[in-house]
């Protein structure tokens, strides 16, 4: 005759535990499903940040504010960084495409402001305290406009303008 210590047994059945009990139930819990977003919020925030700069600049132009929009490349750079982070969360061809596109826009914006749009410092002959150099131009009605026309009863604001701005 076999003598059991601890739990009482009837044949091979352990009656001290409920029917259907297994050791696993006592030590583990069901696995939690991973979040499905996978950085989707980061991706869209990045895309929106990249779009926001040009949109705000267009609104500034509409409001006739002619300043340098440093916020545009800064926001696009932020957008590219957010897309890189989202890409690390989940790799997809679309995210790579978005990163390439916004990366190119970022580079273009920085190049435009730091290089293309820059004007060299003025080193010409127009100097404070000196007469304006001689020239010969025409008013819109075709009548001559020369240096002599700068002398008279009024002071002059001479504005050299170009393009849309």
């Amino acid at each position: 005759m076999t003598v059991h210590s601890g739990a009482a047994r009837v044949g091979d059945l352990d009656v001290s535990r409920p029917v259907g009990y297994t050791e696993d139930m006592n030590t583990t819990s069901p696995p939690v499903a991973p979040p499905k977003s996978g950085g989707r919020l980061l991706l869209w925030t990045g895309i929106l940040a990249a779009i926001l700069g040009p949109v705000v600049y267009a609104l500034e132009l509409h409001a006739a504010r002619l300043t340098t929009p440093w916020y545009a490349p800064a926001l696009t750079t932020l957008g590219a960084i957010l897309i890189i982070v989202s890409l690390r969360r989940r790799f997809s061809v679309w995210r790579v495409a978005a990163l390439l596109l916004i990366g190119a826009v970022t580079a273009g914006e920085w190049w435009f402001l730091l290089s293309h749009a820059r004007l060299p410092a003025y080193t010409g002959p127009v100097a404070e305290g000196h007469p304006f150099p001689e020239f010969s131009a025409a008013r819109a009605d075709g009548t001559p406009f020369t240096r002599d026309n700068l002398v008279g009863d009024e002071d002059t604001v001479l504005v050299f303008f170009r393009g849309h701005w």
């Binding site: 304006f132 020239f135 131009a137």
Partner: protein, 114 residues
């Protein structure tokens, strides 16, 4: 053109200071006439031969959107004796002085009618 629109809108502030605004571009007479009609309180000058821009050395070669020459945006204050009192050139061609900044410079550089 945004800049000219802003200056046109403030023409009374310039008139009250006995200051006229002369707007110069490399446009021909046709283009300048259109600009003049759009901004009747400014004096629009056609500098198609680049005489004025070259005299002041303000040509920006191959810097127009179409790749041709254009002028570097510049603002010059000239008193009624024809003497230069102030010159402003922005760091970038997309920047301009606001009318308030121009009027502030006028008040500072051309006080009480120069």
């Amino acid at each position: 053109m945004i800049e000219l629109g802003q200056l046109e809108a403030r023409h009374q502030d310039f008139d009250s200071r006995h200051v006229r605004v002369v707007a110069v571009s490399l446009d021909g007479l046709d283009g300048s006439t259109k600009t003049q009609n759009k901004f009747p309180h400014l004096v629009v000058v056609s500098d198609k031969k680049k005489s004025l821009a070259m005299a002041a050395e303000l040509i920006a070669p191959q810097h127009s959107p179409a790749g041709g020459d254009t002028v570097a945006p510049t603002t010059v204050l000239i008193d009624r004796r024809g003497e230069v009192r102030w010159l402003f050139r922005p760091d970038r061609f997309i920047e301009r002085l606001s009318p308030d900044q121009v009027l502030e410079a006028v008040d500072e550089q051309l006080p009480a009618g120069g």
